[in-house]
């Protein structure tokens, strides 16, 4: 087990290094630079040179790459080019709490609704409950989140005036963003859960348990659920990482001071440091979440041997 974890961590570091290298050079390959936009039109060339010098942008790209790695080794993700005097570490620690709060609630909601809904659909296959949950799941998968965001905002904020439009100042503010973020996930988890549960219910051991006279609820809850939840757990690895770090659309529409917005803005602004920093952060988080998922596997299903 320990050996396996160490192996995974080493592999994780290698993939992270590849991710950094790729992002770094791709980012620098995009035409345009952080200081060639509208904002710097009035700045004389000599001053621009000076500014670029301060950020080390006049060095050859490979020199910048090496010094970036050196700083990274010290845990320093660099300084933002657009938010003056802000380090990328600051931006992450400022934005992470809001994104994580919304993300955590959305994950919780998605699991609490998705798992029972999928289970019910499988158990009551062909019945009304199955139909209803599959309709929800199909809608959820196919409606893009920006449509959902704009639609719910129009309905609950503009028309009904029930919920606040922006920020996170009260509990009411959480309803729409969490709901919108969870909706697609609920749909996905429901479908995963349903198909996996159907598979499990066909297994011999379920028939055995039933024949023992164990109540149906216990058969499902105790035996079938444990066996069919594995795909959901697999899916949770990347889901947790991406939801916790926020989504651009939801954070933009509901004005949430989170991380997600930085992603897109930083690429548009050619803010190399922020783009790289966030990529590394999310990349590392995905690797860690996947590792945790693998470890959880071993506990949920002892048949899964990870020590190979």
């Amino acid at each position: 087990m320990v050996r396996y974890i160490i192996k995974r961590i080493v592999a994780g570091f290698l993939s992270l290094l590849m991710l950094i290298t790729l992002t770094f050079f791709l980012m620098h390959a995009i035409p345009g630079g952080p200081f060639s936009s509208d904002k710097y039109r009035k700045t004389p060339q000599a001053v621009l040179e000076q500014i670029q010098d301060q950020y080390g942008l006049n060095e050859p790209v490979y020199v910048q790459y090496i010094s970036y790695l050196q700083n990274l080794a010290k845990g320093n993700l660099g300084v933002s080019f657009t938010k003056l005097n802000y380090s990328v570490n600051d931006l992450i620690s400022n934005g992470m709490p809001a994104s994580a709060k919304i993300g955590f609630l959305a994950i919780l909601l998605a699991l609490l609704i998705g798992i029972p809904l999928g289970t019910t659909a499988a158990v009551r296959r062909g019945h009304l409950a199955d139909g209803v949950s599959m309709v929800i799941a199909t809608v959820g998968v196919s409606v893009p989140s920006f449509v959902l965001c704009v639609l719910t905002m129009y309905l609950f904020c503009d028309r009904l005036k029930l919920l606040p439009t922006y920020g996170l100042s009260s509990w009411k503010c959480y309803i729409l963003p969490v709901g919108c973020m969870a909706f697609g996930q609920i749909a996905y988890i429901t479908r995963l859960m349903r198909s996996s549960m159907l598979e499990t219910l066909r297994q011999d051991f379920i028939r055995t348990e039933r024949s023992k006279g164990i109540p149906e609820l216990a058969v499902i809850g105790k035996y079938a659920l444990k066996n069919s939840i594995l795909p959901v757990i697999t899916y949770m690895g990347p889901m947790v990482a991406t939801l916790l770090t926020g989504t651009f659309i939801i954070e933009k529409v509901f004005s949430i001071p989170g991380l997600g917005r930085y992603f897109v803005n930083a690429i548009g602004d050619r803010d190399y440091a922020v783009t790289l920093g966030l990529t590394i952060f999310v990349g590392a988080l995905i690797i860690i979440c996947n590792l945790i998922v693998d470890i959880i596997y071993a506990f949920v299903d002892p048949r899964v041997k990870i020590d190979r």
């Binding site: 904002k39 400022n94 922006y166 602004d269």
Partner: protein
Amino acid sequence: MRKKIAAALMAAVTAMASLSVTAFAEGNVLKFALTQECETLDPGTSDYLQSSAVIMNLFMGLYMTGQDGITLTNGCAESYDLSEDGLTYTFHLYDDLLWSDGTPLTAHDFEYSWLRVLDPALASGVVSNMYMIKNAEAYNTGKCEADEVGITAVDDTTLVVELENPTSYFIDVTAEACYCPVQQAAVEASATWSQKADTYVCNGAFKVSEINPEESYILTKNENYKYADTISLDETDIVFIADGSATLTALKNGEIDMTNNISSQAQAEFDGSDQLMSFATIGTCYYDFNCEHLTDTRVRKALSLAIDRDTITQNLIPSKPVSSTGFIPYGISYNDSEEDFRTTVGDLLTFDKDTAKSLLDEAVADGFDTSATYTIIVKNDEEQKTVAQAMQAMWKEYLGMNFEIVTYESGTYWDVVHQGDFDVAYDGWTGDYDDPDTMLECFNQVECVTQNRWSGENAEKYDAMLKECAAMTDQTSRFSEFVEAEKLLIDESPIMPLYFRKSQLLVGTNVTYAINDTLGHTLFKYTEVE
């Protein structure tokens, strides 16, 4: 058990009730929505509208913009003397100026702050706004020492400033963000002083009580502000809402009182209403002609004459700006008089498709090729694309010339312009001070290299005229020189002005007075709410 649940419920209800109480703070509070957080709250490095809009409410320079958003009034300075040669300004500061932390503010603070902006180590993007000060450019580019720069605090209330050339608008620029004082103790205590409320020291109408990154700034009235008794707001909450329709909904629901983020939907919904306010801005939206491709002046003139500006500005642009009749917009005074420069000079640009056609025909007779397809480049922006399509159609109809439109994402757009990879390119310029120079300077030879590539005899003449203006002390002849320079610019048409920029505010019904200055900064210190 049940009692416990009841108690817990009661506690929750009380907690919620107290939450909603804090949401409505006491006193006169204005909630203002900006699209995004400021890049910086340090006046010395702020060269963006988003940042300086907030900074102008937190700091006060020697002079400042008055309640009408246009005229200057006293800020930290009570008066000034100007030497005979127009080169030396002696500012007399009030002796009761205080920082927001209660410590005294003196002329030495100005000396420190201005030299700080000029310090090459700060690498401030706005530094060229100070280059009119003696040796400022030399110091900034490492050619001399700080003590040779023409900024000297003689005593606590006297600041002597020497300039390179007589600059009639120097008093105007002392109101700009980069000329505002910063507290040496605060700046030197922490490199991130402007990022946290407890280290932030300022001297303007408001002080910073809270900085919630990407969420809000809570500004409260600064009791130590020199003119504190004129401020009607107790608090201004600046919130960041990126989405235009969310901003509109928030305004209509009363969650915010005022915004400068006005979507086209808001524009249509509030068209003609008192709640949608417009303010003249010293700025012009224009298009660059690449003079290396369109070498014939007659062609450039023809293209400019063949554009029906009113159709574009009144029908296609939601904010309906005023069509350009020259390059210098309204709002710049003629020779310090009450007269407006634009009104005095009159219209230099019209829509005249017949003259356009005959000019083009002359050029064709001399070998200009109208069968080729030319390129208009714009940024990936709805308004710019619509305008480009209209121009494309007009040029096709009136001149029979073919244009294709290429759009670039904003991160690469300016690089394409700088490389000269276009025939016609979207561009714009916003001035900083009340003098024609603030607009005309953007077409000197140094600047043209990276935009319209205008060169040759007339371009050099234009340059010489502006240089002459910079050194002239006689304002009457200086202004007639400006008039000539603008005429030359329009005659040569390296650019095609389209409309004069304006800034707008959408306000709630509870806002009784709101004002933007001519640069588009919203001045909360003059805002009144019911």
